[in-house]
Every structure is written in C-alpha cells, then in structure tokens.
Assembly symmetry: C2
Homo-oligomer: 312 residues x 2
Amino acid sequence: MSHRHTIHSCQRHYGWNNAQQAVLRVAPGDSAEFDVADASGGQLRVDSSAADLGRLDFASVNPLSGPIAVDGAAPGDVLKVTLLEFTPSGWGWTANIPGFGLLADQFGEAALRTWRYEPRSLAPAFFGAHARVPLKPFAGTIGVAPAEPGVHSVVPPRRVGGNMDVRDLSTGTELLLPVEVPDALFSIGDTHAAQGDGEVCGTAIESPMKVAVRFELIKRQPLAYPRFTTNGPVTRHLDGRGYEVTMGIGPDLMQAARAAVSGMVDLIAGRHGIAPIDAYLLCSVCGDLRISEIVDLPNWTVSFYFPRTVFD
Amino acid sequence: MSHRHTIHSCQRHYGWNNAQQAVLRVAPGDSAEFDVADASGGQLRVDSSAADLGRLDFASVNPLSGPIAVDGAAPGDVLKVTLLEFTPSGWGWTANIPGFGLLADQFGEAALRTWRYEPRSLAPAFFGAHARVPLKPFAGTIGVAPAEPGVHSVVPPRRVGGNMDVRDLSTGTELLLPVEVPDALFSIGDTHAAQGDGEVCGTAIESPMKVAVRFELIKRQPLAYPRFTTNGPVTRHLDGRGYEVTMGIGPDLMQAARAAVSGMVDLIAGRHGIAPIDAYLLCSVCGDLRISEIVDLPNWTVSFYFPRTVFD
C-alpha cells in the first residue's frame, strides 16, 4: 500500500503539548505511514541485556511520532483513525523495570528478554525453549493533544487517548478520539508485536514497526472517552486450545487483579519449570485481565486468562 | 448421560454455613445432576412483570442446591469440579433491581425482561425485535463452605468460590476450589443462559436448568483462590463480527469501568433506538469488561466489549 505522507522516525516528541509545532498537515481522508520507534527510542537492541536497562536515558524513552495537524479539526469534533497496516521489524524486547508493573513489590529486579520473530508470517514467537507466543501487532499509544496547556507525560493515557495500551488497536480497527484543540495534533507510538489485556509487567513485546493510518473527521460529535470498532474477532490467533484461568476475589479490583496475576505466575512457573520473572513477563505479553463480576457486593471477581496454546 | 446421584430442586439452602447437614454424600469420581432453581427461587416466571420484582421475598432468593459432602475432603485439599452438562429450561429473566448493579445511580427504577429460548439448539435469543443474544449456559454460583462459622450471604463470592459469576464456568470447564472444611460441603446455583464479563446490571439471563458435575479430590494442594481450565475457546459463539468497544480511563478501576459501560449504554441506545434501560440489560447479558492496561501510572484503561453480532 502506498500512502501520501510519510513520517520518519526522527519526527518525534516526548510529551503531549498543544503548543507543539506539527510536523505535517493532512486533510481528512488522507493516509500516512509512520516509522515508529520502540519504547526505548532505539536505546535497546536485540542483543541488549538487563544492565542496559539501568543505563537508559529516560528523557528519550516513549517517543511519539508526530504531531500531525488535521485540517478543520476543532474542539468537540471526533478524529476517526483507521489502522490500515502494520509492518513489523522482526525484533522486540520485554522488560521488568523496577518500581513499574502490577507486581512491582514481588519483582524488584531489572530483567530484559529480547525476541526475534518472523515479520511477514507473524508465526508465534519463541520465549525460551518451550513457550511460543502468538503475535498481533498494534500501537500502544495513539492520541491527540489535550486542551490543558503545558507538557504532559506520555506514560498515562487520558480522555484524548495516548498510552491506552489496548491490544486490539490493530489492523482494521477504527478508533474514535475526542478532539480538544484546533487541528487535533495527532501522535502515535509504542508499537507492540503482542500484549495481553493489562500489560501486567508494564511492557509488551516492544517492537519498532511502520504503521499506516487514515484520518477522517466527524464534526461536532461529543465523546467522553475514545472508543473503537474491531472488524472481526480479536482472540482467534491464541484461543484455540482454551485457557488456564486464575482469579482474585475481594472488595478491591486492583488487589483482586494482583492476586489473579500472582496466581498465574505461580502456576506457570511451577508447572513449566521456568523462573517466576519469566512467567511474569509471559503473562504480560499474552495473558488477559477480565472483570468477571463487578456487582456482587462487596466482593468482585477478577480473572486472568492465559492461553494454553503457548505451552502446547 | 446418566449420573449416579440426583439433587432435586427442593434440596436447597440460602446461606453458606459449614454446620449445615449435607443432603448427599459422594465419593471422589462420582457425578451428580442438580436441578437448579433460578435466582428468584421460582418466584419469577416467564409472564412476570417489574411489579413482581417489588413483591420478591428476599429470604427465598439465590437458593443453592446442596450441600454435598465429598468423602475424604479435608482443609488444604482441592475439590476438582468438572462441569459435564447443562440442560437449560428454555426461559429466563433479566432485571434491574434498584440499588444493585454497576450503574445503580443512573438506573433507579425496577425493570424486568423475560426471555424464551430454544433449549436444545441454543440459537441466539431475541431481546426486543432487533437484538439477538448468543447463549452459553453456565452456573454463576459454585463453591464450598467457608471455614468461618455461621451463616454467610450467598451474594458475594469468597476464596472458596460461591457467586463468582464467571461466564466461562460452562460445559467442559474444570474448576478447582480450595477446601476449608471436612467433606468440603459443595453447593451450586444461580444458573445463567448467558452473561457478559462483569454482569454489569447485576443480573444475567437468569434461568433454571439442570447441571451435571463430576467431583474429584486433589489431596494437600494449597490454592489461594479458585482457578479453572477451559477445554477450548470461550467467545467464538459471539465474536464472529467483532466488537464495539467503549473505554473509561482514569486512576480508579471502578470509575473507569462505570465510564466504559455508561458509554456503551449511550452508544447502543442512540444507534438502535432502544431505551437506555434495555441497552443496560443487554450490556449485562453479552458485553465484556476487560482491563486493557493496569500499569501506566496513574491512569488505567478499562474497556467494554460489545459483540456486533447482536445487532447484525
């Protein structure tokens, strides 16, 4: 597919800011291809080790490609972004970064694993000798500039999108973003070769890749939060053999989620003889956090679904 | 399939209590069929109306079939329950009960919708003129007696199971429950013809049905919470056309879940011209709450997935 516009990897920024100069202006209906850096901004490579994590310059992590000005976009409009095509690089990394992640209290040490995968066939990628992780490339960060002035961290998502880390923002999905500033000021980054719902260790298969998107504008349509439409099923690449499911049950969703993931780490590490840290990273790249019930006062059920195909 | 034991609908109780007399004793390896009442305990019928909700005797709701004593079960063991077969009745109900449900503040009025469905083919069931909801029968409540003495409400789930409302506790699933008392004292109830992850309005398609299960015992295996294994994919009956997905983004998972469901109610009601209360009930019987990311401090992303096949 050829696209009218190309945004190169050097056309990047490190914070949401509605005063930032756009690198390109597009018209509604235009498509563009972004050369998206990995979340380390090129500081990690396929031969990096955990020691390199300690040397990361955090001022240069989480680069975003953009911003793009969309002609005619105004506050109160919706920017429709169709994810046309992902062209993955064939390598990635997954890390435990001390202090970051759902089980940060249990996993205090830095860990880094790197991946090689087949970028065209997207065959399940080996993790160690036994686990194979199904791939589905997507962009973790997609958003527009917030109305509030100043520079805003790229780490948390907001109602204008950003680092939402929704693993179904993949090929064919149509995403609607609420526009808060003139020209919308769209950016994209944080591409992943695979991730489970939750991104529980704090990273996915972080992987540079090219992403092609099309922009459309829906005028004057109020939208509280982003929403999206998938053009088909979202888990068929990994659900064929069913799931192992652990649970957390209690009055706090966060604690229940922690218990569910902790239970899966124990189960996988014990059953397959891998280190708990590796089980934790695996959970992040292919396990799904679901809220099974949120109404049976005072205790909620959070479940963590791990696809059995990974070890089959 | 024939089972050695039958537990009739009159063999029921209304609270977890480890001092309760078992209605039956089984040996590991035995199977049994339970004639499970709906959550109203037979007080609602297919021709009931919202007015009947106000007349419910709440002392007789949420009946559980059991308890069953399992020979040799002791605290620290695991009771393995294989869900062999569901024989649904062909009718059910879904209600909004004031004060109960994720959006109780937005939906203060009692509402009741009843369903008829084909119990053998389990063809998607009509809701109003246009929506058709895929069915997958399961038991909302499955558990064993807690160690703590006294009577415990059947509404909240606990680490020994109970009202977990996990919609994949369906045919073929193997559930492991931590045993806390001698003989385990197993009960089951709250059968549903369909429910989405979250059970957001507080009820599913509440439907009486027969359930056959097999009991096995795993001696001396510590288990913090219940866990289960599915014998295949869990969403293929509804994911063929993909999903509409709304989101909530913020520092509190509960508020984010509320925003995501509220967004879907608005979307469905607006697009399909149905009353918001009907959109809310539909969300409960077939929409799924997922935690998309739980690590991008300080904001989490909760997504609500509604299967597009329902209106296709």
